[in-house]
Amino acid sequence: MIQFDNVNKVYEGDVKAINNVDLTVPDGEMVILIGPSGCGKTTLLRMVNQLETISSGSILLNGEDVTTLDKIEMRRKIGYVIQSNGLFPNMTIEQNMMIVPQLLGWDRAKKRDRFNYLMDLIGLNPDEFKKRFPHELSGGQQQRIGVARALAADPPVMLMDEPFGALDPIIRARLQEEFLQIQREVKKTILFVSHDIDEAVKMGDKIVLLRDGEVMQYDTPAEILNHPKNEFVNEFVGSDRVLKSMSLYTVKDLYKAFTLKPNFESKDIRTINEDTSLRVAISMILNQEADQLVIEDNEGNNHGSLTMDLLEQFLHKEIKGQEG
């Protein structure tokens, strides 16, 4: 758990970068720090592992004030990933990834097992990549190694500063998926900086929206999108915020909420799987892909048909908090 308690940061020259931040990152959750460029995301992140000093207030790591901990020891227990991957060009992939275990004095066999395990986790062949140097890898592969390096000594806490920010959209989306998969397995406590609201909605258990070093809203993605607290949040998440929030729900959420109409007779029928996101479902309706979309669960059972009307009712219920 990471707790920020009335944290302030003033840089030299009276630049107030962080202003009275109170925040808790619960164990095993991924909290996304988001906001416009220069709002203090990186600063807040770097105060946790003391790469930046804390001007006032305190940051507690599992209940302990970080400033009372030994810096070097503490950093080895916190995974740190940066946008530019920060891989050392003079070291092989294996050496890069095993830096922290090596600093901690792990023996050879343990390091080798860990390397193989992590390479499997990020989907790269350990023997193929072990002896290669970072410049011999693609951007996506380098960033995977950067993430795996942060996980190397199995730290309970991870700090990630726009880890996928430098990648092209397709690779970025893939790495996001992969990392979510990894997180489901490893359940780290993660503070993750992003400037992309779609990434935040997709990845975050919760989202912190910052402006000029102040927390504007700290909520679940659905709450931020459906109930922005103020005009700034509203503007930041975009006028298509409700459409975005639809990616947080699946067809299953919808048919669980309502009793659906039986199908009517029609030739032009398409089925839609219950795990499909509502955002995709809406697109299918708007695209006029078929006269009728029939909801099917993973066992192949039919749950009636999906209509715009039904989606509207669902939105009404989720956003206004009442039955339509």
Partner: protein, 216 residues
């Protein structure tokens, strides 16, 4: 031309002896200069104010004509009865090598991507670990370039050290001048040039060996 070849063939053991002397003094001076200059260069990266001053001071040394520096050293070192010979030449060469070595070490470490330094800190390296594992290896091409410059420079300046009795290939040139023997002067000069080229080549190989595969 024929005369020159004849001279080399005839005086080969004589030249060889002077060349070994030459290499000895230049080698010792350069190694000493590395042992002093590299740590200074590294230290300066942590102290920007001092860095400016020291680099300037080292540049000033470079502009002093070597013959004048030798001249200044004679009275100073005469106090300990070492006014001429090995010691003043050695000291002068060490001083001359400082600029390329300090400057290149300083620039090399300074030029290491700040993101790498940040990553090293974030992963929990101590300052010394960061230096050994990240900064020096990645600065190695530049540090070695400084060492090469210093070595070649010293081989040339070392020839002038003969004037204060330090021996080496300069003696051949010096005696050639005194005897008005052009062939001898040329033979000495060519030997110095060949030694410089060979030394640079060997150091290039060492540089390749010392530079980690991924760093450059």
């Amino acid at each position: 031309m024929n005369e020159l070849i004849e001279y080399f063939v005839k005086n080969y053991p004589f030249l060889w002896g002077y060349m070994l002397d030459h290499l000895e003094i230049v080698g010792l001076a350069t190694i000493t200069a590395i042992l002093i200059g590299v740590p200074i260069g590294i230290y300066l990266t942590t102290n920007k104010y001092l860095a400016g001053t020291i680099l300037q001071l080292a540049s000033v040394f470079m502009t002093i004509p070597s013959i004048a520096l030798f001249g200044v050293m004679i009275p100073v070192l005469s106090v300990i009865n070492q006014g001429v010979g090995f010691l003043p030449a050695f000291l002068a060469l060490v001083l001359y090598s400082q600029l390329p070595i300090i400057r290149n070490t300083y620039t090399g470490i300074q030029n290491v991507d700040p993101q790498l330094r940040d990553a090293a800190n974030g992963l929990g390296m101590t300052t010394l670990q960061r230096l050994w594992k990240v900064e020096i290896p990645n600065a190695m091409p530049l540090i070695m370039a400084g060492v090469r410059t210093a070595t070649v420079l010293n081989i040339g300046i070392g020839a002038i050290a003969a004037f204060i009795g330090a021996g080496g290939l300069g003696v051949v040139i010096y005696q050639g001048i005194v005897r008005a023997n052009t062939t001898m002067v040329l033979a000495g000069a060519i030997s110095v040039a060949v030694v410089a080229i060979l030394a640079d080549f060997i150091l290039k190989l060492i540089q390749k060996k010392l530079t980690p595969k991924g760093a450059n």
